[in-house]
């Protein structure tokens, strides 16, 4: 739904469709969403290509306004049945030459092999970006790959203008033309792990500079990332970065200390939906005197290898709990016995805490040291303000998809 003037069409069976259509409704985006239902006969007769082409074409013809782009989502059954996707897109592009068709996939069966559906979607979202060589602006940076715009206070939004660069993000595009202008950037920057695959390919395709500066909770890693950025950008007046970094670190330290004084020894539980670096966050908090007891996660990202090794050695008492293990269906509390600060919705569900940071995917916190400072602030807010998890967690698409479900 982030791409302006685009319309989504899903082609799948009832069971998959129900969730998608109702999520679109929760987002009040029904008018940007249509679908084609696959039935048994389509699988048995082998006419899934025809159904997809004719259904999509029928829906497009009935739209009140011709969209600039169609995000056409095919699903597991298309791939499993060996559907000729190229034929589908070719015929649709011939019928509607004025529309850009983006190849999108909702095939969770592929989530453990090769690029995940999430990675492929983040690639597809930028496939129509292009740029005339003379329109390429070396002083423009497009920050892409995440569902969220960076906070205004983020390091990147402070550093890039300082170095004389204009920042563009998908979230601020209001028209298809603005979206297309994202492609004019001389540099594509990605902070979100699932976006890296697609944005790197985009940079390669358009022959642009690519920077991957993953969000982190480690001072040294952020420092290195920002030095790489600074050296790549080559700011005109040779401003020094180090004093700026030192100032930012001292702000982080002050924020963390303030939060620690407020929260004290209250147990903390973190989950992986809050941020792609839950172990990094646990390490940061433990090294600053917080009482992190549990991290809920189902796998450990290669980017967290060092944090994991450190925690294993220095904090062996830290519990790592799976969220998908069968027993976890019952191992959750309705109400926490003692006050627990939960960071993330799944941590709130499992601990039964009403004090939780209600954020997914790191949201706009992906901007270096400022992300640490803001996390400390959010923890303090969550600790002081009771929330009702029952009304917040279950609403998948409300408030711009802030649920982890």
């Amino acid at each position: 739904m982030l791409i302006p003037e685009a319309h989504q069409i899903y082609v799948c069976a009832d069971n998959c469709m129900r969730g998608v259509v109702l999520t679109a409704a929760e987002m009040h985006a029904e008018d940007r969403f249509s679908f084609v239902i696959v039935e048994e006969q389509n699988l048995l007769n082998g006419d899934l290509e025809d159904l997809t082409i004719e259904g999509t074409a029928d829906l497009i013809r009935k739209l009140k306004k011709m969209p600039k782009a169609i995000l056409l989502f095919t699903v597991c059954i298309h791939h499993f049945i060996g559907c000729d996707l190229e034929r589908i897109y070719r015929e649709l592009e011939e019928q509607f030459p004025e529309i850009t068709f983006l190849r999108c996939y909702m095939d969770p069966i592929m989530q453990k092999h090769g690029p995940t559906p999430d990675q492929k979607l983040r690639k597809a979202m930028y496939e129509s970006l292009d740029s005339e060589p003379d329109k390429m602006d070396t002083k423009q940076i497009s920050i892409l790959g995440s569902d969220f715009a960076l906070d205004q206070s983020s390091d990147l939004k402070e550093l890039l203008p300082k170095a004389g660069y204009t920042v563009r993000e998908l979230q601020s595009c209001r028209t298809w033309e603005e979206y297309k202008e994202l492609g004019n950037a001389g540099t594509f920057l990605c902070c979100y792990p699932s976006g890296k695959y697609g944005i790197e390919l985009l940079a390669k395709r358009l022959d642009r500079t690519f920077l991957y500066l993953p969000l982190s909770f480690d001072y040294e890693e952020i420092k290195k990332e920002e030095e790489i950025l600074w050296n790549t950008l080559k700011p005109e007046d040779n401003q020094e970065l180090l004093p700026w970094i030192e100032k930012k670190i001292s702000l982080c330290e002050a924020a963390l200390e303030h939060t620690r004084q407020v929260i004290g020894n209250t147990p903390i539980a973190i989950d992986y939906t809050f941020h792609p670096r839950p172990l990094g966050l646990a390490k940061l908090l433990l090294t600053h005197g917080f009482n992190v007891e549990t991290v809920y996660l189902d796998s450990i990202s290669p980017e967290e290898k060092e944090a994991f090794a450190w925690l294993k050695e220095k904090k062996p008492e830290l519990e790592l709990r799976s969220t998908v293990h069968a027993k976890m269906r019952l191992l959750h509390e309705e109400h926490a016995t003692d006050k627990i600060l939960a960071i993330g919705q799944k941590a709130a569900w499992f601990t039964g805490s009403r004090y939780f940071v209600n954020l997914v995917q790191g949201a706009g916190l992906q901007g270096g040291f400022d992300g640490i400072r803001r996390t400390a602030e959010l923890m303090e807010e969550a600790f002081s303000e009771e929330k009702d998890p029952k009304t917040l967690i279950v609403k998948k698409g409300w408030g711009g998809c802030t649920s982890c479900i």
């Binding site: 799948c12 069976a13 009832d14 069971n15 998959c16 469709m17 129900r18 969730g19 259509v21 109702l22 999520t23 409704a25 029904e30 249509s34 679908f35 084609v36 239902i37 696959v38 039935e39 048994e40 699988l43 159904l51 004719e54 259904g55 029928d58 829906l59 009935k62 739209l63 699903v75 597991c76 059954i77 791939h79 499993f80 049945i81 909702m106 095939d107 969770p108 069966i109 592929m110 989530q111 453990k112 092999h113 559906p117 998908v324 069968a326 027993k327 269906r329 019952l330 309705e334 029952k390 279950v394 998948k396 649920s403 479900i405």
Partner: protein, 333 residues
């Protein structure tokens, strides 16, 4: 095009129907699926997560498992391990589109599970391409087949006793709504033996053979009613005992009028009195909406017409009603 939709969301599928029907019965439901699509059940089709636990799982089927024929051993081993720890009263296997396509033999897998774990196991033949009425209906039919004993020692003499068949939040929302229906019937001195399947346990449902009558309160309960009729000869009536309709349902139970709403609406439509020039169209599940239509006709004398987008509506609709297939047909109707 019949299968293309722009306006109306779709009903939930057979898979969610099974989960919803079996949610409170203490069993373990395993959906053989990659997991993404069936998160639908978690996010949009189940309202009881916060008040009541249930053992509903997804197998996490992967591409390799699907290509290699489902990797049945892994599927079975995961279920056995979980069942060994969680001790469910039964295991229900639920299929989704990919296992449907590769022909996974669920009845055989259920048999293996039952033999190896000693826990009753059965498969519900879903594929994610039918509606919830089909899935929930098949699940309750299976409960009637497997868990209601063939013989009931004290089943005679239970006059004015009834089972309510077809209660799920998908049709009725929270339990308070079903309790209202029960109270409405109790006002006319009917005693409810069991409610299939909200707020009653598997053991309560096993007592269903003791009832004099069965009342199908939504089409979800129809298959179970037929199964109980086959087992015990228990007659059934189809209708929802809303407050304004409970007296008529009570009468139908006494006189064994199978679908009172159709009879009432036929009579009212023919009368054509009062406001009958105006036609009110109701869209939805045929039993609940049929009872509502009958109330509207009897009390307010409006003509009604039902558009039913669900699959198994045969015999449940009146002569002016339409079974609708797709949004385009709905628009034309």
């Amino acid at each position: 095009m019949r299968q293309a939709y722009r306006i109306i969301p779709i009903y939930t599928s057979d898979v969610s129907g099974v989960c919803s029907a079996l949610y409170e019965l203490g069993g373990m439901v395993v959906i053989h699926d990659p997991s993404g699509c069936n998160s639908t059940y978690n996010t949009h089709d189940e309202i009881r997560w916060y008040n009541q636990d249930s053992l509903i799982f997804i197998s996490g089927l992967t591409e390799i498992d699907a290509v290699m024929g489902g990797n049945d051993e892994k599927f079975l081993s995961d279920i056995k391990e979980a069942a060994g720890e969680l001790h469910p009263k039964f295991i229900a296997l639920v299929s989704s589109p990919i296992p449907f396509m590769n022909g996974t033999d669920f009845p055989a897998l259920a048999k293996v599970l039952e033999t190896e774990t000693g826990i009753p196991a059965f498969a519900v033949p879903t594929n994610g391409m039918h509606d919830y009425v089909y899935g929930a209906g098949k699940a309750l039919e299976e409960i009637a087949r497997r868990f209601v004993p063939e013989q009931m020692e004290d089943r005679n003499g239970s006059e004015r006793t009834v089972n309510l068949l077809g209660a799920t939040p998908l049709d009725f929302g929270p339990i308070s709504k079903v309790e209202e229906l029960k109270k409405n019937l109790e006002q006319y001195e009917w005693k409810v033996i069991s409610t299939w399947a909200m707020e009653d346990s598997l053991e309560d449902l096993a007592q269903a053979g003791k009832a004099e009558m069965n009342l199908v309160i939504s089409s979800v309960g129809l298959r179970a009613a037929k199964m109980l009729k086959e087992k015990y000869g228990t007659p059934y009536v189809i209708g929802t005992p809303y407050k304004e309709y409970a007296e008529r349902i009570s009468e139908a139970l006494e006189k064994r009028i199978q679908i009172p709403a159709i009879e009432d609406r036929r009579r009212e439509n023919l009368q054509g009195t009062g406001n009958s020039e105006k036609i009110i169209t109701l869209i939805g599940e045929p039993v609940t909406i049929g009872s509502l239509a009958a109330i509207i006709e009897r009390r307010y004398h409006y003509k009604t017409r039902i558009l039913c987008p669900l699959e198994n509506a045969e015999g449940l609709l009146g002569e002016h009603d339409l079974k609708i297939c797709g949004e385009e047909e709905m628009e034309n109707a």
